[in-house]
């Protein structure tokens, strides 16, 4: 048995029954990471510490004192601060940054026994939908055959790691789709909880009213144990929700009586290959007993424009902290003035897309444009959120595409607004702060995975995960990337 193929649930079960050791599970994944460097999934693997932690996990099993995630190997997006382990946000400006504290989410996972394998590649500061904006080069989609394909982004390295069997599960963050879209392009499951469910403390900030940690896994079953451990109020994050965290998904075996809305705007916007997956998804849900309801989210077309004002505005404020003084790289000669020091350090440290977003953010917040752009975008955000409220008055869940296309070649698109369109199906739920999960449903004509997402009302994760599990079983997506040996 090749242990790297184990899902989190399978591996934890085998560990509890002492059929495998945590050390051999972690070692098999570290071997795969070493053999898969062409995928560029990791910025900083952490072999030594992972080996040590996995052996401590085995000691806990030997003592019969294992914690809930004891010995579970986890890959972590390089945007979560990890104490004494370099954390770069895939930016040159943080290329040597070593945090002195842990993010709440990684700390909770480690305290539950999880073993961190290393830090995964991403778009710089999570700004991007292709992983091409990484200062360390793009991660490569393991579904690539002849030409290198993008894994999507921004949590591209985490999606690659899970799809290519370099980790059973990975942490990502989702601001406008950065967990769900790469999961779709890599044929794995991506889960973004309700805004506020998982603490943002220690997560390098991009757009604070949108950022939300999430999980990538190969099965829905693997999400719940991570969510149960990581979610819940954190006094260190003022937007962290105090709502009680459900211990497990709802116990249901069919979708009988469940009302699933299909907003017409998503059908109108979907490319043919995405539309056929969308129709197939609706049919699967119907066969599982769900009632499919026509619905409308009339401001969908404006959600993307609102997002690409709000997110850069918040980013321009959040990234003001990179000043070349307190942490991060400094690039200025000895005679530079303070302003020259700021300007040179930020010019040298930020990549092109990050600079564009900071400039757009500064523009939409500047005198004379604040009302026309930023304030108007915040009003449109209200309209988008109201659209969802209206649909959820007559529906339990919403079915939507997860990505605008299947995986596209690396280096093909230089036009920023083309890339922004990749987020068209994921951004609306982000603006409204709703939980959503993307699942692989089928292969496209290109032989590449296509995912769909289920979107739920605020804090309805227990129902969302239960329904997603039934949908996943019925969709029966079992394909694996070509280079992966699933035996």
């Amino acid at each position: 048995m090749n242990l790297s193929n184990l899902t989190a649930a399978q591996g934890l079960d085998l560990l509890r029954r002492k059929n495998i050791s945590a050390a051999e599970w972690t070692d098999s994944l570290l071997a795969n990471i070493g053999n898969s460097q062409s995928l560029n999934a990791f910025i900083t693997p952490d072999e030594e510490n992972a080996r040590r932690q996995s052996r401590l996990a085995d000691a806990a099993y030997a003592d019969n004192t294992p914690r809930p995630l004891e010995g579970l190997p986890v890959a972590v997006k390089d945007i979560f601060c990890t104490k004494d382990l370099k954390t770069t946000a895939a930016s040159d400006i943080l290329k040597n940054f070593v945090p002195t504290y842990d993010s709440t989410v990684t700390l909770r996972l480690q305290r539950a026994g999880a073993v961190i394998l290393g830090k995964t590649n991403m778009d710089e500061f999570a700004m991007g939908s292709s992983n091409e904006n990484s200062a360390f080069g793009p991660a490569r989609n393991p579904w690539s055959r002849d030409i290198p394909l993008s894994p999507g982004g921004s949590s591209g390295g985490s999606a690659v790691a899970v799809a290519a069997r370099l980790a059973p599960v990975a942490l990502g963050t989702d601001t406008g789709g950065s967990v769900r879209q790469p999961a779709s392009l890599c044929g794995v499951v991506g889960f973004k909880p309700t805004y506020g469910r998982l603490s943002r403390f220690g997560v390098i900030a991009f757009a604070s009213s949108l950022d939300q940690p999430g999980f990538i896994a190969r099965t829905v079953d693997d999400i719940a144990p991570l969510f149960a451990v990581a979610a819940g109020h954190d006094p260190l994050d003022s937007t962290s929700a105090a709502q009680e965290v459900p211990a497990r998904p709802e116990n249901i075996s069919t979708l009988n009586g469940l009302r699933v809305a299909l907003p017409e705007e998503f059908t109108d916007n979907a490319a043919p290959q995405i539309l056929s997956a969308y129709e197939k998804g609706a049919e699967i849900l119907r066969q599982c007993g769900a009632e499919i309801i026509d619905a409308s989210l009339p401001h969908t077309d404006y959600a993307l424009a609102a997002y690409y004002i709000i997110a850069p505005a918040e980013a321009s404020a959040n990234l003001a902290r990179y000043d070349g003084v307190r942490y991060g790289e400094r690039a200025a000669d000895e005679n530079a003035s303070l302003d020259e020091l700021y300007e040179a350090s930020r010019a040298a440290g930020f990549g092109d897309e990050v600079k564009r977003r900071i400039l757009i953010g500064a523009y939409v917040l500047s005198a004379g444009y604040y009302d026309a752009y930023y304030n108007r975008a915040r009003k449109v955000r209200t309209l988008v959120a109201r659209d969802f409220q209206n649909v959820f008055e007559g529906a339990d869940l919403i079915l939507a595409p997860a990505a605008a296309s299947d995986a596209f070649p690396i280096g093909e698109r230089a036009d920023p607004t083309w890339m922004y369109q990749q987020d068209i199906f994921t951004v609306p739920a982000s603006l409204a702060g709703l939980p959503a999960i993307s699942l692989p449903v089928m292969l496209s004509e290109n032989g590449l995975p296509v995912g769909l997402q289920l979107i739920a009302p605020h804090f309805a994760e227990a129902r969302l995960l239960a329904c997603a599990k039934i949908f996943e079983d019925a969709a029966a997506f079992t394909a694996a990337p070509p280079a992966v040996d699933t035996e």
């Binding site: 309700t194 009213s209 962290s240 929700a241 523009y363 922004y420 702060g433």
Partner: protein, 99 residues
């Protein structure tokens, strides 16, 4: 509304404290982005309240108590230049320059 010029780009780059020398490339890029997001001008948003956060849950305040936080050593660990437990920056007040 979204006709931005090289002067505009220099102005916002100054606001954002980023040195730029490729204004000519940035003008069309930023114009395209502003054109794209400018479609919001089509919507009537009168009487719609702006949304600042999607937080739907209870977000209680923590007690305001004194607690040990990061040490000086921790805070300085990633400083690009430091001396005597201080961040080193260029001289801010000039010798003869009135500010």
């Amino acid at each position: 509304m979204n006709n931005i010029t090289a002067d505009t780009v220099r102005h916002i780059a100054k606001l954002a404290r980023i040195k730029i020398n490729d204004e000519e490339k940035l003008v069309p890029e930023l114009s395209a982005i502003l054109g794209f997001v400018g479609q919001l001008q089509e919507l009537n948003t009168d009487d719609i309240p702006p949304m600042t956060t999607p937080a739907a849950g209870k977000t209680p305040l923590r007690p305001d108590t004194v607690a040990a936080d990061a040490s000086t050593q921790d805070i300085l660990r990633n400083a690009p230049k430091q001396q005597d437990s201080l961040f080193v920056v260029p001289k801010i007040i000039g010798d003869n320059e009135p500010q």
